[in-house]
Protein backbone atom coordinates (compact mmCIF):
# COMPACT_ATOMS: atom_id res chain seq x y z
CA UNK A 1 0.00 0.00 0.00
CA UNK A 2 1.72 3.20 -1.04
CA UNK A 3 -1.41 5.24 -1.57
CA UNK A 4 -2.92 7.49 1.06
CA UNK A 5 -6.22 8.66 2.46
CA UNK A 6 -5.91 12.00 4.26
CA UNK A 7 -8.59 13.49 6.46
CA UNK A 8 -9.76 16.89 5.20
CA UNK A 9 -12.58 17.57 7.59
CA UNK A 10 -14.65 15.82 10.22
CA UNK A 11 -17.79 17.28 11.75
CA UNK A 12 -20.76 16.23 13.81
CA UNK A 13 -23.77 16.05 11.53
CA UNK A 14 -26.47 14.42 13.60
CA UNK A 15 -26.21 15.21 17.31
CA UNK A 16 -26.50 12.21 19.63
CA UNK A 17 -27.60 9.92 16.83
CA UNK A 18 -26.38 7.76 14.02
CA UNK A 19 -25.60 9.31 10.70
CA UNK A 20 -26.90 6.58 8.39
CA UNK A 21 -26.20 7.98 4.94
CA UNK A 22 -24.56 10.79 3.05
CA UNK A 23 -24.84 11.71 -0.64
CA UNK A 24 -23.19 14.25 -2.92
CA UNK A 25 -25.46 16.17 -5.28
CA UNK A 26 -24.67 15.63 -9.01
CA UNK A 27 -22.58 18.85 -9.23
CA UNK A 28 -20.69 17.98 -6.06
CA UNK A 29 -21.47 21.31 -4.42
CA UNK A 30 -23.73 19.92 -1.69
CA UNK A 31 -23.87 16.98 0.68
CA UNK A 32 -27.13 15.59 1.99
CA UNK A 33 -27.03 13.54 5.19
CA UNK A 34 -29.70 11.74 7.18
CA UNK A 35 -29.89 9.92 10.48
CA UNK A 36 -31.48 8.48 13.57
CA UNK A 37 -32.57 11.95 14.68
CA UNK A 38 -35.18 11.79 11.86
CA UNK A 39 -33.56 14.77 10.17
CA UNK A 40 -32.01 15.51 6.81
CA UNK A 41 -29.24 18.08 6.65
CA UNK A 42 -27.84 19.75 3.58
CA UNK A 43 -24.21 20.85 3.78
CA UNK A 44 -22.45 23.36 1.56
CA UNK A 45 -18.78 24.12 1.21
CA UNK A 46 -17.57 27.35 2.77
CA UNK A 47 -13.90 27.62 1.94
CA UNK A 48 -12.24 24.65 3.60
CA UNK A 49 -15.14 23.64 5.74
CA UNK A 50 -18.68 22.40 5.38
CA UNK A 51 -21.60 24.36 6.84
CA UNK A 52 -25.16 23.26 7.40
CA UNK A 53 -27.33 25.10 4.87
CA UNK A 54 -30.65 23.46 5.51
CA UNK A 55 -32.27 21.33 8.18
CA UNK A 56 -35.31 19.26 7.19
CA UNK A 57 -36.72 18.10 10.49
CA UNK A 58 -40.40 17.35 9.98
CA UNK A 59 -40.46 15.16 6.92
CA UNK A 60 -40.42 11.83 8.68
CA UNK A 61 -41.68 10.31 11.92
CA UNK A 62 -38.81 7.86 12.31
CA UNK A 63 -35.20 7.37 11.28
CA UNK A 64 -34.32 8.60 7.81
CA UNK A 65 -32.22 5.78 6.40
CA UNK A 66 -31.11 7.04 2.99
CA UNK A 67 -31.25 10.10 0.78
CA UNK A 68 -30.80 10.35 -2.98
CA UNK A 69 -30.45 13.30 -5.35
CA UNK A 70 -32.21 13.29 -8.71
CA UNK A 71 -29.83 13.34 -11.73
CA UNK A 72 -30.75 16.99 -12.43
CA UNK A 73 -29.95 17.91 -8.81
CA UNK A 74 -33.26 19.72 -8.24
CA UNK A 75 -34.94 17.01 -6.20
CA UNK A 76 -34.03 14.94 -3.17
CA UNK A 77 -35.70 11.71 -2.13
CA UNK A 78 -35.56 10.38 1.42
CA UNK A 79 -36.35 6.84 2.60
CA UNK A 80 -37.52 6.33 6.16
CA UNK A 81 -38.33 3.69 8.79
CA UNK A 82 -41.76 5.35 8.93
CA UNK A 83 -42.54 3.38 5.74
CA UNK A 84 -42.64 6.45 3.50
CA UNK A 85 -40.43 8.04 0.88
CA UNK A 86 -40.47 11.81 0.68
CA UNK A 87 -39.73 13.78 -2.50
CA UNK A 88 -38.31 17.24 -1.86
CA UNK A 89 -37.85 20.07 -4.34
CA UNK A 90 -34.92 22.40 -3.99
CA UNK A 91 -35.77 26.10 -3.93
CA UNK A 92 -32.54 28.04 -3.34
CA UNK A 93 -31.35 26.98 0.10
CA UNK A 94 -34.69 25.54 1.07
CA UNK A 95 -36.46 22.32 0.27
CA UNK A 96 -40.17 21.86 -0.04
CA UNK A 97 -41.82 18.48 0.39
CA UNK A 98 -43.58 17.82 -2.93
CA UNK A 99 -45.11 14.49 -2.22
CA UNK A 100 -44.95 11.49 0.08
CA UNK A 101 -44.83 8.03 -1.49
CA UNK A 102 -46.70 5.45 0.51
CA UNK A 103 -47.28 1.79 -0.03
CA UNK A 104 -44.53 -0.16 1.66
CA UNK A 105 -45.76 -2.13 4.67
CA UNK A 106 -42.87 -1.21 6.89
CA UNK A 107 -39.42 0.44 6.93
CA UNK A 108 -38.17 1.77 3.59
CA UNK A 109 -34.47 0.94 3.45
CA UNK A 110 -33.41 2.68 0.24
CA UNK A 111 -34.44 5.00 -2.58
CA UNK A 112 -32.61 5.50 -5.86
CA UNK A 113 -33.21 7.60 -9.01
CA UNK A 114 -32.59 6.10 -12.44
CA UNK A 115 -30.02 8.05 -14.53
CA UNK A 116 -32.85 9.13 -16.86
CA UNK A 117 -34.53 10.91 -13.96
CA UNK A 118 -37.90 9.38 -14.91
CA UNK A 119 -37.85 6.41 -12.60
CA UNK A 120 -37.38 5.88 -8.90
CA UNK A 121 -36.85 2.61 -7.02
CA UNK A 122 -37.51 1.93 -3.35
CA UNK A 123 -37.07 -1.20 -1.24
CA UNK A 124 -38.21 -2.28 2.18
CA UNK A 125 -38.22 -4.77 5.03
CA UNK A 126 -41.52 -5.91 3.50
CA UNK A 127 -39.26 -7.83 1.03
CA UNK A 128 -40.39 -5.87 -2.02
CA UNK A 129 -38.83 -3.51 -4.52
CA UNK A 130 -41.13 -0.82 -5.95
CA UNK A 131 -40.51 1.02 -9.19
CA UNK A 132 -42.14 4.43 -9.57
CA UNK A 133 -42.53 6.58 -12.66
CA UNK A 134 -42.33 10.36 -12.48
CA UNK A 135 -45.05 12.13 -14.41
CA UNK A 136 -43.32 14.38 -16.95
CA UNK A 137 -46.02 16.98 -16.74
CA UNK A 138 -46.70 17.00 -13.07
CA UNK A 139 -43.74 16.86 -10.74
CA UNK A 140 -45.98 15.96 -7.82
CA UNK A 141 -47.21 12.81 -9.48
CA UNK A 142 -45.43 9.55 -8.95
CA UNK A 143 -47.05 6.34 -10.06
CA UNK A 144 -46.02 2.94 -8.92
CA UNK A 145 -45.51 0.86 -12.07
CA UNK A 146 -44.21 -2.35 -10.56
CA UNK A 147 -43.89 -4.17 -7.27
CA UNK A 148 -41.42 -7.01 -7.41
CA UNK A 149 -41.16 -9.66 -4.71
CA UNK A 150 -38.00 -11.56 -5.58
CA UNK A 151 -36.31 -11.45 -2.23
CA UNK A 152 -37.42 -13.66 0.64
CA UNK A 153 -36.30 -11.19 3.30
CA UNK A 154 -35.68 -7.53 4.12
CA UNK A 155 -34.28 -5.66 1.07
CA UNK A 156 -31.41 -3.42 2.14
CA UNK A 157 -30.35 -1.47 -0.95
CA UNK A 158 -31.22 -0.72 -4.57
CA UNK A 159 -28.98 0.77 -7.23
CA UNK A 160 -29.50 1.64 -10.89
CA UNK A 161 -27.14 0.77 -13.72
CA UNK A 162 -25.21 3.89 -14.87
CA UNK A 163 -26.45 3.78 -18.46
CA UNK A 164 -29.12 1.10 -18.99
CA UNK A 165 -32.55 0.77 -17.45
CA UNK A 166 -31.45 -2.03 -15.20
CA UNK A 167 -31.85 -2.24 -11.44
CA UNK A 168 -30.07 -4.28 -8.78
CA UNK A 169 -31.11 -4.96 -5.18
CA UNK A 170 -29.56 -6.78 -2.25
CA UNK A 171 -31.03 -8.35 0.83
CA UNK A 172 -30.96 -9.93 4.29
CA UNK A 173 -31.64 -13.16 2.33
CA UNK A 174 -27.93 -13.04 1.27
CA UNK A 175 -28.73 -12.53 -2.41
CA UNK A 176 -28.49 -9.86 -5.06
CA UNK A 177 -31.27 -9.55 -7.67
CA UNK A 178 -31.05 -7.89 -11.07
CA UNK A 179 -34.22 -6.51 -12.72
CA UNK A 180 -35.19 -5.48 -16.22
CA UNK A 181 -38.40 -4.16 -17.73
CA UNK A 182 -40.36 -6.62 -19.85
CA UNK A 183 -43.74 -5.63 -21.38
CA UNK A 184 -44.20 -2.65 -19.05
CA UNK A 185 -43.51 -4.78 -16.03
CA UNK A 186 -40.31 -5.07 -14.05
CA UNK A 187 -39.06 -8.56 -13.37
CA UNK A 188 -36.16 -10.20 -11.66
CA UNK A 189 -33.89 -11.54 -14.40
CA UNK A 190 -31.07 -12.91 -12.29
CA UNK A 191 -30.43 -13.91 -8.70
CA UNK A 192 -26.81 -13.69 -7.62
CA UNK A 193 -26.01 -16.15 -4.87
CA UNK A 194 -22.73 -16.47 -3.07
CA UNK A 195 -22.65 -14.28 0.00
CA UNK A 196 -23.15 -16.18 3.24
CA UNK A 197 -24.86 -13.40 5.10
CA UNK A 198 -26.85 -10.18 4.59
CA UNK A 199 -25.76 -8.13 1.60
CA UNK A 200 -25.76 -4.46 2.62
CA UNK A 201 -24.49 -2.50 -0.36
CA UNK A 202 -24.11 -2.50 -4.14
CA UNK A 203 -22.29 -0.38 -6.69
CA UNK A 204 -21.79 -0.62 -10.45
CA UNK A 205 -18.41 0.02 -12.05
CA UNK A 206 -18.19 3.10 -14.33
CA UNK A 207 -19.04 1.05 -17.45
CA UNK A 208 -21.88 -0.83 -15.79
CA UNK A 209 -20.39 -4.17 -16.82
CA UNK A 210 -19.61 -5.17 -13.28
CA UNK A 211 -21.36 -4.98 -9.95
CA UNK A 212 -19.69 -5.00 -6.54
CA UNK A 213 -21.54 -6.13 -3.42
CA UNK A 214 -20.58 -5.98 0.24
CA UNK A 215 -21.83 -8.10 3.08
CA UNK A 216 -22.16 -9.03 6.74
CA UNK A 217 -19.95 -12.01 5.79
CA UNK A 218 -17.09 -9.46 5.77
CA UNK A 219 -16.38 -9.88 2.06
CA UNK A 220 -16.82 -7.91 -1.12
CA UNK A 221 -17.82 -9.73 -4.29
CA UNK A 222 -17.40 -8.56 -7.87
CA UNK A 223 -19.98 -9.83 -10.36
CA UNK A 224 -19.82 -9.69 -14.11
CA UNK A 225 -22.53 -10.16 -16.68
CA UNK A 226 -21.82 -13.15 -18.86
CA UNK A 227 -23.42 -15.14 -21.65
CA UNK A 228 -25.88 -17.67 -20.30
CA UNK A 229 -24.88 -21.24 -20.95
CA UNK A 230 -26.73 -23.46 -23.37
CA UNK A 231 -27.72 -20.76 -25.88
CA UNK A 232 -31.41 -20.83 -24.99
CA UNK A 233 -33.56 -18.25 -26.69
CA UNK A 234 -34.52 -15.15 -24.77
CA UNK A 235 -32.82 -16.30 -21.60
CA UNK A 236 -32.40 -14.18 -18.56
CA UNK A 237 -29.08 -12.49 -18.21
CA UNK A 238 -26.51 -14.33 -16.18
CA UNK A 239 -24.10 -12.85 -13.69
CA UNK A 240 -21.10 -14.65 -12.29
CA UNK A 241 -18.97 -13.88 -9.28
CA UNK A 242 -15.52 -13.18 -10.75
CA UNK A 243 -13.72 -12.04 -7.62
CA UNK A 244 -14.11 -12.17 -3.84
CA UNK A 245 -12.19 -9.86 -1.52
CA UNK A 246 -11.88 -11.64 1.80
CA UNK A 247 -9.59 -11.24 4.77
CA UNK A 248 -9.60 -7.44 4.51
CA UNK A 249 -12.56 -6.45 6.65
CA UNK A 250 -12.86 -7.27 10.35
CA UNK A 251 -16.62 -6.87 10.56
CA UNK A 252 -19.73 -6.23 8.46
CA UNK A 253 -19.10 -4.18 5.32
CA UNK A 254 -22.00 -1.72 5.25
CA UNK A 255 -21.36 0.19 2.08
CA UNK A 256 -19.30 0.13 -1.08
CA UNK A 257 -18.71 2.76 -3.76
CA UNK A 258 -17.06 2.49 -7.16
CA UNK A 259 -15.47 5.76 -8.26
CA UNK A 260 -16.90 6.83 -11.64
CA UNK A 261 -13.73 8.82 -12.38
CA UNK A 262 -10.87 6.56 -11.30
CA UNK A 263 -12.34 3.06 -10.91
CA UNK A 264 -11.18 2.82 -7.30
CA UNK A 265 -13.42 0.87 -4.92
CA UNK A 266 -14.08 2.21 -1.40
CA UNK A 267 -15.71 0.41 1.51
CA UNK A 268 -17.35 1.41 4.80
CA UNK A 269 -16.91 -1.14 7.58
CA UNK A 270 -18.30 -2.01 10.99
CA UNK A 271 -14.74 -2.17 12.28
CA UNK A 272 -14.67 1.65 12.03
CA UNK A 273 -12.41 1.55 8.99
CA UNK A 274 -12.46 3.00 5.49
CA UNK A 275 -10.60 1.09 2.79
CA UNK A 276 -9.80 1.77 -0.85
CA UNK A 277 -9.08 -1.01 -3.33
CA UNK A 278 -7.48 -0.65 -6.73
CA UNK A 279 -7.82 -3.04 -9.61
CA UNK A 280 -4.67 -4.81 -10.75
CA UNK A 281 -4.05 -3.84 -14.35
CA UNK A 282 -2.48 -7.06 -15.48
CA UNK A 283 -5.32 -9.37 -14.53
CA UNK A 284 -7.61 -11.14 -16.99
CA UNK A 285 -10.86 -9.12 -17.40
CA UNK A 286 -12.87 -12.23 -16.56
CA UNK A 287 -10.81 -12.82 -13.44
CA UNK A 288 -10.14 -9.35 -12.07
CA UNK A 289 -7.93 -8.88 -9.05
CA UNK A 290 -8.03 -6.05 -6.55
CA UNK A 291 -5.48 -5.03 -3.95
CA UNK A 292 -5.87 -2.94 -0.88
CA UNK A 293 -4.56 0.46 -1.86
CA UNK A 294 -5.19 2.42 1.36
CA UNK A 295 -6.73 1.79 4.76
CA UNK A 296 -7.80 4.15 7.53
CA UNK A 297 -8.29 1.82 10.54
CA UNK A 298 -10.01 4.32 12.79
CA UNK A 299 -11.75 6.49 10.23
CA UNK A 300 -14.44 7.04 12.83
CA UNK A 301 -14.80 5.99 16.47
CA UNK A 302 -17.76 3.78 15.57
CA UNK A 303 -19.13 1.82 12.60
CA UNK A 304 -18.83 3.47 9.21
CA UNK A 305 -22.25 3.27 7.53
CA UNK A 306 -21.75 4.97 4.20
CA UNK A 307 -19.03 5.90 1.76
CA UNK A 308 -19.35 8.00 -1.41
CA UNK A 309 -16.98 9.32 -4.06
CA UNK A 310 -17.29 12.91 -5.23
CA UNK A 311 -18.86 12.99 -8.72
CA UNK A 312 -16.43 15.55 -10.13
CA UNK A 313 -13.27 15.71 -8.05
CA UNK A 314 -11.15 12.59 -8.32
CA UNK A 315 -10.05 11.24 -4.95
CA UNK A 316 -12.53 13.16 -2.83
CA UNK A 317 -14.43 10.80 -0.56
CA UNK A 318 -17.09 11.22 2.15
CA UNK A 319 -18.03 8.81 4.95
CA UNK A 320 -20.42 8.86 7.90
CA UNK A 321 -20.71 6.95 11.12
CA UNK A 322 -22.81 5.67 14.03
CA UNK A 323 -21.22 8.43 16.10
CA UNK A 324 -23.12 11.02 14.03
CA UNK A 325 -20.05 12.31 12.25
CA UNK A 326 -19.30 12.97 8.61
CA UNK A 327 -15.71 12.87 7.39
CA UNK A 328 -14.33 14.15 4.11
CA UNK A 329 -11.16 12.50 2.79
CA UNK A 330 -8.67 12.91 0.01
CA UNK A 331 -7.47 9.69 -1.55
CA UNK A 332 -4.25 9.91 -3.51
CA UNK A 333 -2.86 7.13 -5.56
CA UNK A 334 0.91 7.06 -5.63
CA UNK A 335 1.10 5.56 -9.11
Amino acid sequence: MNDTVALLQKFNAHPDSRCWYVAWNPKGTLLASCGGDRAIRIWGREGDSWECKTLLQDGHQRTVRKVAWSPCGNYLASASFDATTCIWKKKNDDFECLTVLEGHENEVKCVAWAPSGNLLATCSRDKSVWIWEVDEENENEYECVSVVNSHTQDVKHVVWHPTQELLASCSYDNNVCVYKEEDDDWECRATLEGHTSTVWGLTFDPSGQRLASCSDDCTVKIWKECQPEGGQEGTDVAWKCVCTLSGFHGRTVYDIAWCPLTGALATACGDDGVRVFKEDETADPDQPAFSLSAHVPKAHTQDVNCIAWHPKEAGLLVSCSDNGEIAVWNYQSGV
Binding site: K156, T301, D303
Partner: protein, 136 residues
Protein backbone atom coordinates in the same frame (compact mmCIF):
# COMPACT_ATOMS: atom_id res chain seq x y z
CA UNK B 1 0.79 -8.95 30.37
CA UNK B 2 -0.50 -9.49 33.92
CA UNK B 3 -2.03 -6.03 33.73
CA UNK B 4 -3.84 -6.99 30.55
CA UNK B 5 -5.35 -10.09 32.16
CA UNK B 6 -6.37 -8.08 35.22
CA UNK B 7 -7.85 -5.43 32.98
CA UNK B 8 -9.94 -7.89 31.01
CA UNK B 9 -11.06 -9.69 34.16
CA UNK B 10 -12.18 -6.35 35.57
CA UNK B 11 -14.18 -5.71 32.43
CA UNK B 12 -15.83 -9.12 32.63
CA UNK B 13 -16.72 -8.41 36.25
CA UNK B 14 -18.29 -5.08 35.31
CA UNK B 15 -20.11 -6.71 32.45
CA UNK B 16 -21.45 -9.46 34.63
CA UNK B 17 -22.73 -6.89 37.08
CA UNK B 18 -24.51 -5.05 34.30
CA UNK B 19 -26.05 -8.19 32.84
CA UNK B 20 -27.26 -9.23 36.27
CA UNK B 21 -29.59 -6.29 36.33
CA UNK B 22 -31.44 -7.23 33.17
CA UNK B 23 -34.76 -8.77 33.95
CA UNK B 24 -36.13 -11.70 32.07
CA UNK B 25 -39.31 -10.17 30.60
CA UNK B 26 -41.70 -12.78 31.87
CA UNK B 27 -40.23 -13.50 35.28
CA UNK B 28 -39.55 -11.15 38.19
CA UNK B 29 -35.96 -12.33 38.73
CA UNK B 30 -32.97 -11.03 36.82
CA UNK B 31 -31.59 -12.95 33.86
CA UNK B 32 -28.42 -13.88 35.68
CA UNK B 33 -30.32 -15.42 38.56
CA UNK B 34 -32.23 -17.56 36.11
CA UNK B 35 -28.97 -18.79 34.63
CA UNK B 36 -29.87 -17.35 31.24
CA UNK B 37 -26.65 -15.41 31.28
CA UNK B 38 -23.69 -16.38 33.46
CA UNK B 39 -19.99 -15.64 33.41
CA UNK B 40 -19.10 -18.56 31.16
CA UNK B 41 -21.33 -17.03 28.49
CA UNK B 42 -19.21 -13.95 28.19
CA UNK B 43 -16.06 -13.80 26.12
CA UNK B 44 -13.97 -10.67 25.89
CA UNK B 45 -11.37 -10.17 23.17
CA UNK B 46 -9.12 -7.21 22.90
CA UNK B 47 -9.64 -5.47 19.56
CA UNK B 48 -7.14 -2.72 20.00
CA UNK B 49 -6.23 0.00 22.41
CA UNK B 50 -9.02 0.20 25.00
CA UNK B 51 -11.46 -1.50 22.68
CA UNK B 52 -12.98 -4.90 23.22
CA UNK B 53 -15.08 -7.37 21.33
CA UNK B 54 -17.72 -8.78 23.65
CA UNK B 55 -19.22 -12.08 22.60
CA UNK B 56 -22.23 -13.18 24.58
CA UNK B 57 -23.91 -16.53 24.33
CA UNK B 58 -27.12 -17.03 26.17
CA UNK B 59 -29.54 -19.89 26.68
CA UNK B 60 -33.19 -18.95 26.94
CA UNK B 61 -34.95 -20.89 29.67
CA UNK B 62 -38.11 -21.02 27.62
CA UNK B 63 -37.84 -22.33 24.03
CA UNK B 64 -40.15 -19.70 22.64
CA UNK B 65 -39.26 -17.70 19.53
CA UNK B 66 -40.45 -14.22 20.41
CA UNK B 67 -39.02 -14.33 23.92
CA UNK B 68 -35.52 -15.17 22.74
CA UNK B 69 -35.61 -12.28 20.28
CA UNK B 70 -36.77 -9.93 23.02
CA UNK B 71 -34.01 -11.04 25.38
CA UNK B 72 -31.47 -10.56 22.61
CA UNK B 73 -32.82 -7.08 21.95
CA UNK B 74 -32.67 -6.22 25.66
CA UNK B 75 -29.06 -7.37 25.86
CA UNK B 76 -28.13 -5.26 22.82
CA UNK B 77 -29.80 -2.14 24.20
CA UNK B 78 -28.60 -2.47 27.78
CA UNK B 79 -25.00 -3.23 26.94
CA UNK B 80 -24.65 -0.52 24.29
CA UNK B 81 -25.84 1.97 26.90
CA UNK B 82 -23.98 0.75 29.95
CA UNK B 83 -20.59 -0.52 28.99
CA UNK B 84 -18.11 2.18 30.00
CA UNK B 85 -15.49 1.19 27.44
CA UNK B 86 -15.34 1.18 23.67
CA UNK B 87 -16.66 -2.10 22.35
CA UNK B 88 -18.21 -4.14 19.56
CA UNK B 89 -20.91 -6.57 20.52
CA UNK B 90 -21.97 -9.97 19.17
CA UNK B 91 -24.83 -11.82 20.82
CA UNK B 92 -25.64 -15.46 20.12
CA UNK B 93 -28.06 -18.00 21.41
CA UNK B 94 -26.11 -20.92 22.85
CA UNK B 95 -25.82 -23.93 20.64
CA UNK B 96 -28.32 -26.68 20.96
CA UNK B 97 -30.93 -24.87 22.97
CA UNK B 98 -33.11 -23.36 20.32
CA UNK B 99 -34.52 -24.56 17.03
CA UNK B 100 -34.52 -21.27 15.14
CA UNK B 101 -31.20 -20.05 16.53
CA UNK B 102 -29.75 -18.87 13.27
CA UNK B 103 -32.81 -16.78 12.44
CA UNK B 104 -32.81 -15.10 15.82
CA UNK B 105 -29.05 -14.53 15.94
CA UNK B 106 -29.15 -12.88 12.55
CA UNK B 107 -31.90 -10.51 13.65
CA UNK B 108 -30.42 -9.50 16.96
CA UNK B 109 -27.03 -8.79 15.39
CA UNK B 110 -28.49 -6.68 12.56
CA UNK B 111 -28.17 -3.15 13.96
CA UNK B 112 -30.60 -1.74 11.41
CA UNK B 113 -33.28 -4.21 12.50
CA UNK B 114 -32.55 -3.44 16.16
CA UNK B 115 -32.77 0.32 15.53
CA UNK B 116 -36.06 -0.02 13.68
CA UNK B 117 -37.47 -2.29 16.40
CA UNK B 118 -36.59 0.30 19.03
CA UNK B 119 -38.62 2.89 17.10
CA UNK B 120 -41.70 0.73 17.49
CA UNK B 121 -43.34 2.28 20.58
CA UNK B 122 -44.78 -0.96 21.96
CA UNK B 123 -41.55 -2.87 21.64
CA UNK B 124 -39.53 0.06 22.96
CA UNK B 125 -41.72 0.26 26.09
CA UNK B 126 -41.24 -3.43 26.83
CA UNK B 127 -37.48 -3.23 26.33
CA UNK B 128 -37.21 -0.08 28.47
CA UNK B 129 -39.07 -1.86 31.25
CA UNK B 130 -36.71 -4.80 31.06
CA UNK B 131 -33.48 -2.85 31.02
CA UNK B 132 -34.34 -0.32 33.70
CA UNK B 133 -32.33 -0.65 36.89
CA UNK B 134 -34.42 -1.83 39.86
CA UNK B 135 -33.70 1.38 41.75
CA UNK B 136 -34.38 3.79 38.85
Amino acid sequence: KKELVLGVTREIYLLEHVIRTIRDPEKPNTLEELDVVSEECVEVQELGEDEYLIIIKFSPTVPHCSLATLIGLCLQVKLQRCLPFKHKLDIFISEGTHSTEEDINKQINDKERVAAAMENPNLRDIVEQCVTEPDD
